[in-house]
Structures are given as structure tokens and as C-alpha cells.
Subunit: 232 residues, 2 copies
């Protein structure tokens, strides 16, 4: 089963231009092959390829009932790692594991202060196609922690390594009935000042176990815990 990205109109489903190139030049698919198309917002259609010369047309065979977004969504706000490969790996895994929203965070101890969000977006799309997701996670731009706190002050959880602050186990907070937002700091952790600001805002510390986890491992682990707690 191959999934591609397209746009859904009231009376038409249209492949994205880039996907046409992908179908003919990269995958070298043939007329008559079946494909699936999604808009990343829950819509899904099945169609048959009709290739004539350089043109790619799709005969739509079926439009499925749209997938509904989950109620118990997970938003991970995480400082991108210095080594971008590690962050990209987190992005791919979090997407495959069904995280709903990701905000790259800029913190006091962040070693990485910039991020090509278009590249991240491409990886998200690719991971969604691979894992057959029809609802793509929302990727926010790199956001300073302070701004994030002002925008999303409620129901925040944060992971950190300081021993002097109270924490609850990740196991006890997943799944929440609605949206959970979990913050993960950079390689040098949140600064003490940041942790205190978050706690004073009502955020709850989350314990991820006794061993030290890398930033991206903490992120993947939180995403996996979310998926795990949601298994039937």
C-alpha cells in the first residue's frame, strides 16, 4: 500500500505536484497501479494511476470516511539537539508513534539556536506516508521557552534532571483525557530558573526513570509511552 499527499476538494482529489514527479521518476510506477491519497487532515482516498506521457492522472475509486483526530493528543515541546541527525530521528519516530504536535523549543542552555523547519516538515510527511498516517502532526516553528509558556500556560509537564523538585511518573499521567503537553529541555537541561518559572506556572515535573536519557531519547520515550498507554 503506497500513500501520497494530495488536496481534497468537494468534487475532486488532486495529487500534489511533487508527488507526480515522485510517482513517475523516483518510484517509476505504471498505469493501473493502485495508490492511496491523503491530505494529512484525516481524508483518505483510493485511486488508480493513469499515466499518459508525462501526465499523471488518478481515477478515484473510493473516498473513505475521514479519520477523526484523537481526543487524548500529545504535544511534545523539545529543544533540538546540537547534532541535527538526532533531532531528525526524534521527529521521525515521534511522527511514526502518532504524536499530534511538536514545538522545537529555544531554551537558556540550547546549543542549537536555529532550525530549518521546512526540512523537518518534509521528514514528517515522509514518515506519515511510510507509517500510513492520514492525520499529520502539527510542526510549530522554533519557539523561545518564555513565549511558549505565555501561549500554552495550561496542563504543562516537564522532564528535567534536578532532584530537588517533585516529580510524578510518566506512567501516572498517560493517557490524559485531552491534550497533554510535555516539555523536554536541551542537552544541558532546563536552567534552574526555567524550571522554577515552569513550576510557578503550575507545570508538573515528570520522572522518566533512574537512568540518564539523551534529549532525543527522552522525546522518543515520551512518544512511545503515549503510544503504549493508548494500545488497546
Amino acid at each position: 500500500m503506497k500513500l501520497f499527499i494530495g488536496n481534497f476538494f468537494p468534487d475532486e482529489v488532486k495529487l500534489q505536484d511533487e508527488e507526480e514527479h515522485h510517482i513517475t521518476r523516483v518510484l517509476r510506477m505504471s498505469s493501473g497501479e493502485n495508490i492511496y491519497i491523503t491530505d494529512g487532515k484525516g481524508n483518505l482516498a483510493q485511486g488508480k494511476l493513469i499515466l499518459t506521457g508525462k501526465r499523471v492522472e488518478v481515477e478515484i475509486l473510493e473516498i473513505f470516511p475521514p479519520e477523526q483526530p484523537k481526543k487524548n493528543r500529545l504535544h511534545i515541546a523539545i529543544a533540538p539537539t546540537k547534532n541535527i541527525d538526532r533531532f531528525e530521528f526524534f521527529i521521525e519516530k515521534a511522527t511514526e508513534l502518532g504524536v499530534s504536535e511538536i514545538t522545537p523549543l529555544l531554551c537558556a542552555n540550547s546549543e542549537r539556536k536555529n532550525l530549518k523547519i521546512e526540512k523537518i516538515q518534509k521528514q514528517v510527511e515522509s514518515a506519515c506516508k511510510q507509517s500510513l498516517r492520514t492525520i499529520f502532526p502539527i510542526i510549530h516553528p522554533l519557539t523561545p521557552l518564555k513565549e511558549f509558556m505565555e501561549k500554552e500556560p495550561e496542563n504543562l509537564f516537564l522532564t528535567h534532571c534536578y532532584k530537588e523538585y517533585k516529580k510524578v511518573s510518566l506512567k501516572d499521567i498517560l493517557p490524559q483525557p485531552n491534550k497533554t503537553t510535555i516539555l523536554i529541555g536541551p542537552e544541558g537541561d532546563f536552567s534552574k530558573k526555567e524550571v522554577e518559572e515552569l513550576y510557578s506556572l503550575g507545570a508538573t515535573g515528570v520522572d522518566l526513570g533512574k537512568n540518564r536519557l539523551r534529549t532525543e531519547t527522552a522525546g522518543i520515550f515520551v512518544a512511545a509511552g503515549y503510544w503504549f498507554s493508548d494500545l488497546s
Copy 2:
């Protein structure tokens, strides 16, 4: 806190030769700095560096009571991915998440038929040092599935994508009281013949949820589920 690898003798703790180079040339540490030393088998000591010229000595300050291996161990047997980076990422994450044993599997649909086990071993050591583990996971050589089944025929679980075989949720099998062995197939999945052989041996199919997960994601997810189910 910096952790290094050494050997523990009845009356002495000795750093591995490679670690000496690492301390002086790579990390450029100084006399008087405190370090921790483990043998990867649960032993842990704290010591103070004494550097004279090119020689590295350690004054042992404390030897801690050895860490006991966990009863509910997890053994992941997994087919290495075609793209070795993905497999190495799995190895690092599984190690950080405390998996006890890893066997790279050779299956009917394996695209990768060889593996440099020494390189994998190095990565395991590096991940253990980073995440402060004093019991290192056991890494077995690349093993044909048939041989693995003969060696470890009991309490096997396997993940696969075939819909016609009965499966239980990962959530329902973790944590087991003793050792759990979970098999994860290659990019093309286990062959139907392999799945049938495993089931006829008494293995149980495990469901990882409705979305398609890549081989290494399935591996990381199983490791994360193990860590998650073991959180206090």
C-alpha cells in the same frame, strides 16, 4: 559524572587501556578530577585521577555494592535494517532504555546479511557510559532465525504484520516476571513460513498498534514499552 570502563580484581580496579587515551587525549581531563569506573557487570567504583606525564592512575575512593541484574529482563532479537544507521540508532536507544540482551537475526527476507559486531559493541559501551549503566546488555552475533529458535525455544513473542494470526497487545505481556524474548523481523517482515514455524513452536504474536512501524521503530518501541512498564 563521567563513567569509564575498567576491570575489577579482588584487590584492584584498573581502567581499560583505551580509556586512558580517552581521558588524556580526547577529554583532556586533569589530575584530581573524579571519575566513575564500571566493568559493565554491575560493579562500580569512584576514583580520583592522578596524571603524571603520559601515565594515568586512579586512586580508588569508594567501591559501591554491585548492582543486581533485573529479574524481568528483555531480550530483543531483531533483523538489522538495510540502512545501518537505523539499526545503530536502535542499538543506542535500546541500550539507553535498559534492554538486557540483543540478538541480530538473519531471516528469510533480510536485506542485510552481515554485521560488524565489534562496532555494535562499541556503540553499546558508549551508550552505557552516557546513560550511566553499570550492567551492559549482552550482544550476540548475527544468528539465523532457525538457529535462534533451536537455542531459545521458550517464551518467545514475535511482532509481525499478518492479520490472520492471533496476537496479544504488548501492553498485556509487559512486564513478565522473568525473561521476555521478543522477535522483530526485517523490512519485508518475517516470511509466512517463519511465522508459522514460530507459532507452531508456541510463540505468541504481539500487536504493536494499528500503524505500520519501521523495523527499528518497532524495536525502540518495544524497548520503551519495557522501560515504561517498569517505571515505578
